[in-house]
Symmetry: C2
Subunit: 356 residues, 2 copies
């Protein structure tokens, strides 16, 4: 285990790990013994600390509660069969959280604080990471930044907290998801901050999602807010379509999150010899392909589930069920990525990062 002079560590007196049933985890409900916290004030990030997991104390006027200055990341640590711990493309998450922060006029977090803090934290809470690729055992890692300055005026905060909390998880979706294409509500504006992993991008989705859930679907597939003719992404996943034997996904933009899994799926698919097209995808072509049988597969991509196959896709009054094809891209690509994540296959892309 590395030791670091950067991070001040206060260990929990007693671990809570014995109280946890690792075979029946609810996603994102259980947290490990420690958390990483670093405060920004007087124009700079202060000494980072690892502390026992504990509540936050904030003034009721703290800006995060009123003006939504809050960004986050989602990443995972995996344990291989030898007990080694691995991160998947953590550099991408580090860069993305700073991009998200910049779009919300929040200060960037230093690289050494991020990586040393994260690795120290994972080392301390190593026991919480269970091996077991088949069950999707992993440690979900949630770095986030919140505006902590007191004051009810709509201007950027001068104080922030950068925090990392960790939650042991298992496979996210076990069933195929049922999605409905948005024709009225939207997730993000042109020139807005949809591309940022900002807290404010999520709450607005809950009500439209609830509406489709009342019709029996799980999630909304968002479309552009101007015409609703172009498919964009799902609530917490980017989206792929297999038309005949070509895998299609839309380009990222200022409305769409540049998913780490999305770019990994594209690279892995190409490596596996699959033709990938990154281009605008219309609702019209996808609904026609669903109707005439050329839409062979569709899936979402995201850190939580890697790939979530879509079993049903709906648009307005029409509903199509997708049969799993023989040579299923989603299963093949998912397996290939998981093998890299769990150190069960060669890492030709250099995506894996060992936590020592």
């Amino acid at each position: 285990m590395k030791t670091s002079s950067l991070v001040k560590v206060t260990k929990a007196e007693k671990s809570k790990i014995d109280q946890v049933d690792f075979d029946n985890l609810v996603f994102g409900k259980t947290f490990t013994d420690h958390m990483f916290v670093c405060d920004f004030k007087d124009g700079q990030w202060q000494t980072p600390e690892i502390l026992p997991y504990q509540p936050l104390t904030l003034d009721p006027s703290a800006k995060v509660f009123h003006y939504g200055q809050a960004v986050f990341e989602g990443m995972k640590a995996y344990k291989d069969t030898d007990g080694k711990v691995w991160l998947f493309r953590p550099e991408e998450n580090y860069e993305r959280i700073n991009k998200s922060s910049a779009r919300l006029q929040m200060p960037e977090f230093p690289r050494d604080f991020f990586f040393e803090g994260l690795e120290q934290l994972l080392n301390l809470d190593k026991e919480w990471i269970k091996s077991g690729q088949a069950d999707g055992n992993a440690l979900y890692i949630r770095p986030f930044v919140i505006a902590s300055q007191p004051g009810v005026m709509a201007s950027p905060s001068t104080e922030y907290k950068f925090i990392i909390i960790c939650s042991p998880v298992q496979a996210y979706y076990t069933k195929d998801v049922k999605v409905k294409i948005a024709d009225y509500y939207s997730r993000a504006a042109n020139g807005g901050f949809g591309a940022a992993k900002a807290a404010g991008n999520y709450a607005g989705q809950f009500y439209p999602t609830r509406l489709v859930q009342e019709e029996g679907f799980d999630q909304v597939i968002w479309t552009d807010d101007t015409t609703h003719e172009y498919l964009e992404e799902a609530g917490t996943m980017n989206i792929f379509f297999r038309i005949n034997d070509t895998l299609v996904t839309c380009p990222t933009s200022d409305r769409i999150l540049d998913g780490v899994t999305r770019k990994s799926v594209i690279a892995m698919a190409e490596k596996l010899g699959i033709t990938v097209e990154v281009r605008k995808v219309t609702v019209k072509e996808i609904t026609e392909a669903a109707a005439n049988g050329t839409l062979k597969e569709s899936f979402g991509s995201g850190t939580a589930a890697v790939i979530s196959p879509i079993g049903t896709i709906a648009y307005k009054d029409q509903v199509w069920d997708l049969e799993k094809p023989e040579n299923c891209y989603s299963a093949t690509i998912k397996k290939a990525i998981l093998d890299v994540q769990y150190n069960a296959a060669e890492d030709t892309f250099g995506w894996r990062h060992e936590v020592k």
Copy 2:
């Protein structure tokens, strides 16, 4: 003073009021001795309480930090020269916070809890409300609701806190504001939640606002995100233009906050015999009117300042300064509304509500 069986009251041991310099208040920085708090759990709002103003303790995984489920209101209490305390159209704020909550899949707050809580709180902290219409002395009231359930999964919270905090304030803007019309960034999406007073609508504005501030302006005037051809609203104000002798403002929509001050300005202007047009307003007509001198005035409307005259308006490379006309609408309407708010004139609309 009313007593209420609904609200449980715990008084502060000692008031902080002596430490406050009421002649040098910074907007939204100083808070009164008490706060109102009501928790939602197990599917219902629990007993509302008034407590000494104090920090909130929340789990670091509380959903407000991650998914932006947070809405708020802004209203004011005014003290007249006889020491009576008045609210301005509080029913509007009550209804709007529930509309905002509904759009973010949050539970509505009961009317009796809201009004009894608010009035009890104002009674307890009455001393903090200073009279003085000329200085804009008032108590700014900030009701807000935050998602408090722990858990890092993007789904609606099952637990919330409804809170009211109060801050003594003086006139907000003292100088005329300089604004620049947005031609790239946007505030809200079609089918989004721009019409909700949601935390997530504010943080995204800070970076574009910062960019115009670097050019010497104070605020952005937002335009529609599809074409950037239609003027919508400012960061925390609706916007009015006087073209020749007609006052023009755009209609509300799912992108624009339905401001209480906006609708009061429209009603008051009409009462004063001013012609008001509520219709789409193009960037083209306003910049042409600015260039040819028919744009006589422009101002923002909002609770904080009632009316903020715009002294300079810019679009791309062009900048126009607006000279105050002789018969200035903004000054006349502002005075007329303030007179109602401070109980200095007859309230023909029934807008005033006495806090007893």
